[in-house]
């Protein structure tokens, strides 16, 4: 095997990094399944279904956070529309899951329940081929990607940047939310999709299925991490960082920043869509409130808490904030918004590099 040329393609991670990823993979694909399926419930090491679902949910969020880090941490574009792409992926998956219910719904009809309720006689055009799993997978990738590509092309071409771009993406998300709230849009109105029964004709609520989805999510998360790492380490990644720091200068150097921004923006949207598609079968519901502007802004704070431009930080941030969220909403639901609000303020004021930056600083001080 030829030694890789260090200048052209630096290694993704050093030995320590690969080691850590290996350990993570071991825990996700061996440790957790054993703790959940093999160990008896009485065992102290047994992981209950609640924890599996919670961790799987957080891993989905971590994928979105990685996408956000790519677009915001590395390229400096604060997107407030990531929740939209997440929800679009989720809806694409949800359509397939709704069709999988078959005649087991409340009304025992061929059509999904909400359509029977609305007295529709046939599937609207959006649902074409929605019973095929592969078509659903294709939609998961293509719909968020296409929306992002078209929107991004026009936005970046007219050089909308900075907060303007953020506000416009927020408006886009908001408009989409209003659209999906309508029954006429054909996606279940404000109730969205729920009550899923099967995926690929396998019942969705069994322990094994839950575990399989968990492992798939873990694999996608690790894959996304490596992909993002690959992107930011590549030459194109360096250009992205340069765009973040001095876009005008990059343009004057002869780079067409439109292409780079459009590429990373679309990639981030597709990744978010995949995360949404993994999220829906495990949580069991998708509705338009996933598109609310507040959700999209929250994604930004995951990345900010973890540390922008570090990738690992995005995963850590998603874990910390969502872990805190499920703790607070159970223990002190009153104080969750105070905590979240305070987190927004304190992190931006005092922790510009997030938890990862803080850890790095501490270790460096120790080493010195």
């Amino acid at each position: 095997m030829r030694a890789p040329d260090a200048r052209l393609a630096p290694p993704l991670y050093g030995p320590k990094g690969w080691g850590a990823i290996g350990v993570a993979a071991l825990v996700l694909f061996v440790g957790v399944p054993v703790a959940n399926l093999a160990l008896p419930e009485s065992s102290a090491l047994h992981l209950s279904a609640y924890w599996i679902t919670l961790v799987a949910k957080i891993m989905c969020f971590a994928i979105v956070a990685l996408a956000m880090d790519l677009i915001w941490g590395y390229t400096g574009i604060l997107s407030l529309g990531q929740g939209l792409f997440f929800a679009l992926g989720g809806y694409a998956m949800g359509m397939y899951l709704m069709r999988q219910i078959g005649r087991d719904g409340q009304y025992k009809a061929d059509l999904p329940d909400f359509m029977v309720f609305l007295d529709w006689k046939e599937l609207p055009w959006q649902w074409w081929a929605s019973e095929h799993f592969l078509w659903a997978m294709l939609l998961v990738l293509v719909v968020p990607g296409l929306v992002a590509f078209v929107f991004g092309y026009f936005a970046f071409r007219s050089r909308i940047k900075g907060v303007y771009f953020s506000i416009i993406t927020q408006a886009l998300t908001y408009a989409a939310m209003l659209l999906f709230f309508r029954n006429e849009t054909g996606f279940g109105g404000n109730n969205g999709f729920t009550d899923f029964k099967r995926i690929l004709d396998i019942p969705i609520t069994t322990r094994e299925m839950r575990m399989a989805l968990f492992c798939i999510t873990g694999a996608v998360l690790l894959g996304t991490l490596l992909l993002c790492r690959y992107v930011v380490m590549s030459k194109a990644g360096r250009v992205l960082t340069a765009i973040r720091d001095a876009e005008t200068r990059v343009m004057f150097c002869g780079y067409n920043t439109l292409h780079y921004k459009l590429f990373v923006w679309t990639l981030a949207a597709v990744l978010s869509g995949i995360a949404g598609a993994l999220y829906v079968p495990q949580v069991g519901i998708i509705n338009p409130s996933e598109m609310s502007p507040a959700n999209s802004i929250e994604i930004a704070i995951w990345v900010a808490v973890g540390g922008r431009g570090t990738l690992v930080g995005a995963i850590a941030g998603a874990g910390i904030v969502n872990g805190a969220k499920s703790f607070f909403t159970q223990a002190f639901p009153e104080y969750w918004l105070y905590f979240l609000g305070l987190l927004f303020i304190l992190v931006t004021l005092f922790l510009p590099d997030g938890v990862v930056g803080l850890a790095r600083r501490l270790f460096r001080r120790k080493a010195a």
Partner: protein, 533 residues
């Protein structure tokens, strides 16, 4: 002497209670007859036109009429009076039967009541009665209506009465009367009359006309066209006004942002919550007036305006000093930090006032409205807000162009370093300007409290809209903000009439997104050569 006392007593009784000298047979028929007899009795009462029948019919409509043997009683709780004589009946007879009225009879009773009330002395009561009667005119009421018309002096009531008379006469047997009635109806412009005339020109399923008389049909068509034209005009006026109204609300919400975002470049996601704080300040002032100065309750708003301004401005100044100051030059971080502030403010309001909406009452002088046409009423509260928005706009323009603070703000906006060099205390100017913008948000909240719900989420509803206004209008331009606010208001309302509220909103957002592609700097861009636009 005894006789005199007796006479006085009788007179007193006559004046104290509505003198009941109703026809006993009619009342008995009304109370005990079957529904056809009841109906006849009603007609008799209406034809007689005796105002003393009103309490009786009211009791019948409310289900308070009972019979005990041959006596007819009006029973309220454990009090009863004899319907015929008006005497108190105590103790209550044990054996009583309810007088039941079926739906048809209820409608007839309502019509009869309205017809009888036409002769009441209060103008408002007559007008209300006339309007009720207009919806369900009964031929039996015609003589009463004519009688009322002869005596009526008030123009508004007269107009309604004319319409009633005409809509009854349409059904008469005489062709000339009918045509004359239709002609008179062409002056009316209510949807009800339109429907009535519509039945005259309707076709049956088999293609023949429901109305055999061709002359009547022709006349009805002519009147219909006149009414349609007037109704359409009224609708346009209504739309125009609701456009202006929405525009003025957007303007109020966005004016504060025009300062903090437009002039200072601070993305304040908590702007909506400053509006909300203004609304809650109004609520507190209202409560204070209700508790301590109930006599001046109608004027609490005048006091609430400065209070809302001051409270929001103080909160804004505190935010600027504590948080935003440290983030100048980092707009994305400002966005996130202010979002955090907004979350905390929302939760704080939930903790202080509960998650439910609180009640803010309009002062008496703001309820009601100007009736431009019978179908178009401009509520005073909306009119006041339009005027208020205009006043705030003028005051803000004056503050920016004629005061020292305004001069400083503009100076700092144009060139911070230079302004600092010539002695402008830029840090203090930032605080003052931010407080001004926040205060205007408070004014918006005070206005919004008069037309909508006041709850912790109030601000969330306006934040995206007001950012859209500022983005569309262009940064640093008051004129742009005004035009964008009114434009968005109109666009929203016009599209709403055409496609429904949600689609209209989506269409407007889509339009803004497309528009920004064409003119990234908004309607009124500051010209410059900077590559970093």
């Amino acid at each position: 002497m005894r006789r005199l006392i007796a006479l006085v007593l009788v007179l007193a009784a006559l004046f104290a209670l509505p003198a009941h000298a109703l026809d006993a047979r009619v009342v008995e028929k009304l109370a005990t007859g079957d529904s056809d007899e009841k109906s006849e009795a009603l007609s008799a009462l209406v034809t007689e036109g005796d105002a003393r029948a009103i309490p009786l019919l009211e009791a019948l409509a409310e289900g308070e009429l009972q019979t005990a043997g041959t006596r007819v009683l009006i029973v309220r709780g454990d009090q009863a009076v004899d319907a015929l004589t008006g005497e108190k009946v105590a103790p209550l007879p044990a054996e009583r039967d309810d007088v039941v009225a079926n739906n048809r009879l209820r409608r007839e009773v309502a019509g009869a009541l309205a017809a009888l009330r036409l002769a009441l002395p209060e103008r408002a009561a007559r007008l209300a009665a006339a309007k009720t009667l207009l919806e369900s005119a009964d031929p039996a009421a015609l003589p009463l209506v004519k009688q009322a018309l002869a005596k009526e002096s008030d123009a508004d009531v007269r107009a309604v009465l004319e319409s009633i008379a005409a809509s009854i006469e349409i059904a008469s047997a005489d062709q000339a009367t009918r045509i004359a009635a239709i002609r008179r109806l062409s002056d009316a412009a209510t949807p009800g009359i339109r429907q009535l005339l519509g039945t005259l020109v309707e076709k049956r399923p088999d293609g023949t006309f429901a109305e055999p008389d061709a002359d009547v049909r022709l006349e009805a068509e002519r009147s219909l066209r006149a009414i349609d034209a007037r109704l359409a005009w009224g609708e346009r006026v209504g739309q125009l006004f609701s456009g202006i109204s929405l525009g003025s609300i957007l303007l109020l919400a966005a004016l504060g942002l025009a300062i903090t975002y437009g002039l200072m470049g601070v993305i304040n996601m908590a702007h909506g919550e400053l509006i909300m704080i203004g609304a809650y300040a109004t609520y507190l002032v209202q409560n204070a007036f209700r508790a301590w100065l109930p006599a001046y309750f109608d004027w609490y708003l005048l006091f609430a305006v400065p209070v809302a301004f001051a409270v929001s401005a103080a909160v804004g100044a505190a935010l600027e000093r504590l948080v935003i100051r440290h983030l100048y030059g980092r707009p994305l971080e400002t966005l996130l930090a202010t979002w955090g502030i907004s979350l905390m403010l929302i939760q704080a309001m939930r903790t202080l006032f509960g998650a439910q909406n609180v009640q803010v009452e309009n002062p008496a002088w703001m309820s009601g409205g100007i009736a431009v046409l019978p179908s178009v009423v401009l509520p005073y509260s909306r009119v006041v807000i339009v005027l208020f928005a205009a006043a705030v706009l003028v005051a803000m323009a004056l503050a920016l162009t004629r005061t020292r603070l305004g001069l400083y703000v503009r100076g700092v906006t144009q060139n911070r370093t230079m302004a600092s060099c010539v002695g402008v205390p830029t840090a203090r100017v930032d605080t003052w300007a931010f407080a001004l913008g926040s205060g205007i948000a408070g004014l918006a909240g005070c206005a919004l409290s008069q037309i909508g719900n006041v709850g912790p989420d109030l601000g969330q509803a306006y934040i995206i809209d007001s950012f859209m206004v500022v983005v569309l209008g262009g940064v640093g331009q008051l004129a742009g903000t005004v035009i964008a606010a009114l434009g968005l208001g109109f666009a929203n309302k016009l599209l709403e009439a055409w496609s429904g509220a949600v689609l209209a909103k989506i269409a407007v957002l889509a339009f803004i997104i497309v528009f920004i592609q064409k003119r990234p700097q908004g309607l009124f861009a500051a010209r410059g050569r900077s590559a970093e636009a």
